[in-house]
Amino acid sequence: MNSSRDWTVPGLTIGLIAAIILGMLVPDWVLSVITISFARALAVIGLLVLWRAGLVSFGHALYYGLGAYTVALLGKYWGVHDVMLLIPAALIVSTVCGFLLGFILRKYREIFFAMLSLAFSMILYGILVKTESLGSTDGFNVGAPTFFGFKFEDVQDNKIAFFSFLCVLGYIAALLVHYYLRSTLGHLTTAIRDNEIRVEYLGYSVAKAIHIKYTMSAALAGVAGACLALTLSQVDPDSMVNWTASGELVFVTILSGTGNVAAPFIGSMIFDLLRTYAFEWAPHAWQLIVGAFLLLIIFFLPGGVWSVIARIFGARRKL
């Protein structure tokens, strides 16, 4: 079917090496921006999987928040700061929550799926805002991470180490999702979007397939939230659980395109650079610039920035 060679794995490998080297060379502020971008990209990979099945979640900040608050609470109440404990803990919490909510969400499609996912995220937002022990509206600080119990003396070195760790994490996640999308179950994403009836009559449960995809996306968003909390050194409901955080993930998914698992990393970086420069240029109207940019993407690049890359390298666009 697709005669052109798939460059995803070598591309991701080169990207991993380049990103780690770049992380050591760029100024502090650029490193912070790229770290946030890559953390968010993990969540966007999950949305990509749902998007291909025709499902848009406006509530993935729920898992973002669960991951972030898991990290923050483990640090605050149990003194856990090692990424080797924090990331798996965030992964487990978000996966279990995604799996449980998946039983409800797998019954819904289109706007109902989007709004129900939003409703669940706003419940968590409400709980966080109203609960003093969870930091209420202010949230609380997150300590610097350690790696297998080791912590760099220099703050900048620790940030570089965390960025490198995040790159490896992103690489593993992207590879796993890539291989998943190449499997029978992964190919069902497009099939489900096209025709659920036929999938059922071929002998596979659409609800089960959607449940797996939803749980997978929740797990990725949880890890993304944990990484974001460790990057920003703080958690708060407004920037991590509010509907605007979910909207931001959808924005970046559209901007990135869903053609390849590498797209979220590129799209997320473009988004953060755009936001950074828009804010510097027009501090009171940066949202206007970001909104106009999204409109341009929708009108002229409906396949996102990945469609440009796909065109240049002759790869087939998969939307």
Binding site: M1, Y179, Y180, R182, S183, T184, L185, G186, H187, L188, T190, A191, R193, D194, N195, I197, R198, V199, E200, Y201, L202, G203, Y204, S205
Partner: protein
């Protein structure tokens, strides 16, 4: 493949009502392996309701459906497919943004998953690719292999729909109006391809059809529906000449035309 010792498909006292409308009224049918059953009836007679109940799309108000003696009445379509009964649709149910090859590959991957092979295995693996190419040839749609399904002619989509239903090697296949929306000239060539392919695969077939010439040529048995009831269940030469069938299903003027064309 099929259990030759008893009925393959059986319905007992199958009823379906939609409010005050009775779409199926005590349907009792027994189908044995190797039969090719034509289901005829005017619009609204209950043909598609019958097929939908048998394949799990609709749950009957009362009554039971058995496949090889196993009660499948409460099962979902995917479970019925796993047990060996597939179907095609009046409006072909294919994956419109994918090519004909990709449609069949997806079907082949799911069929493998049903047979216990992990659904996490890569879809593009040689046994599946070879199987799909063979199916494309068998249904004579190989020249449309890499064409997106949304751009295919209706007849080719119908063939693809049937081919997809056959990928899992079912024992029973139900076809809902395989020739609807096809030009008169194309109907017989399409049915020749379908029946030739199905004979190769040793499958028992039930198909809904409005064209009596098609029914007469390709079936071994006819079920005639009228107002949710079966008014005739006999070989085509008997059923198509049944007075009730002539009056309520075919219509006298159509019988006249049919006879004027002569037997095909």
């Amino acid at each position: 493949m099929s259990d030759q010792s008893g009925p393959l498909l059986e319905t007992r006292d199958l009823n379906k009502t939609f409010g005050a409308v009775t779409a199926a009224d005590n349907i009792n049918v027994t189908v044995v392996p190797g039969e090719i059953v034509g289901i005829i009836g005017a619009n609204g007679a209950g043909k598609t309701t019958f097929v939908n109940m048998v394949t799990g799309y609709l749950k009957p108000t009362s009554g039971t459906v058995f496949l090889r003696g196993q009660n499948i009445t409460a099962l979902a379509p995917r479970q019925i497919t796993k047990l060996g009964m597939s179907r095609s649709f009046q409006v072909p149910q294919v994956f419109l943004t994918q090519t004909a090859f990709e449609n069949l590959l997806e079907a082949a991957g799911i069929a493998d998953a049903m047979n216990g092979i992990s659904a996490l295995k890569p879809l593009h693996r040689k046994p599946l690719l070879d199987k799909v190419d063979a199916i494309l040839k068998r249904y004579r749609i190989d020249e449309y292999r890499d064409q997106e399904t949304s751009t295919l002619p209706q007849g080719i989509r119908k063939l693809l729909d049937i081919a997809m239903a056959m990928v899992s090697d079912p024992d029973v296949l139900l076809l809902d109006e395989p020739t609807s929306g096809i030009s008169v000239e194309e109907k017989f060539s399409l049915m020749d391809v379908v029946m030739e392919a199905l004979q190769e695969e040793d499958v028992t077939v039930l198909f809904i059809e409005h064209d009596m010439e098609i029914v007469e040529r390709y079936t071994t048995r006819v079920l005639a529906f009228y107002e949710g009831r079966i008014i005739a269940d006999a070989p085509p030469e008997i059923a198509l000449n049944d007075p009730e069938v002539r009056e309520f299903v075919i219509g006298d003027h159509k019988v006249g035309q049919h006879q004027a064309h002569g037997d095909r």
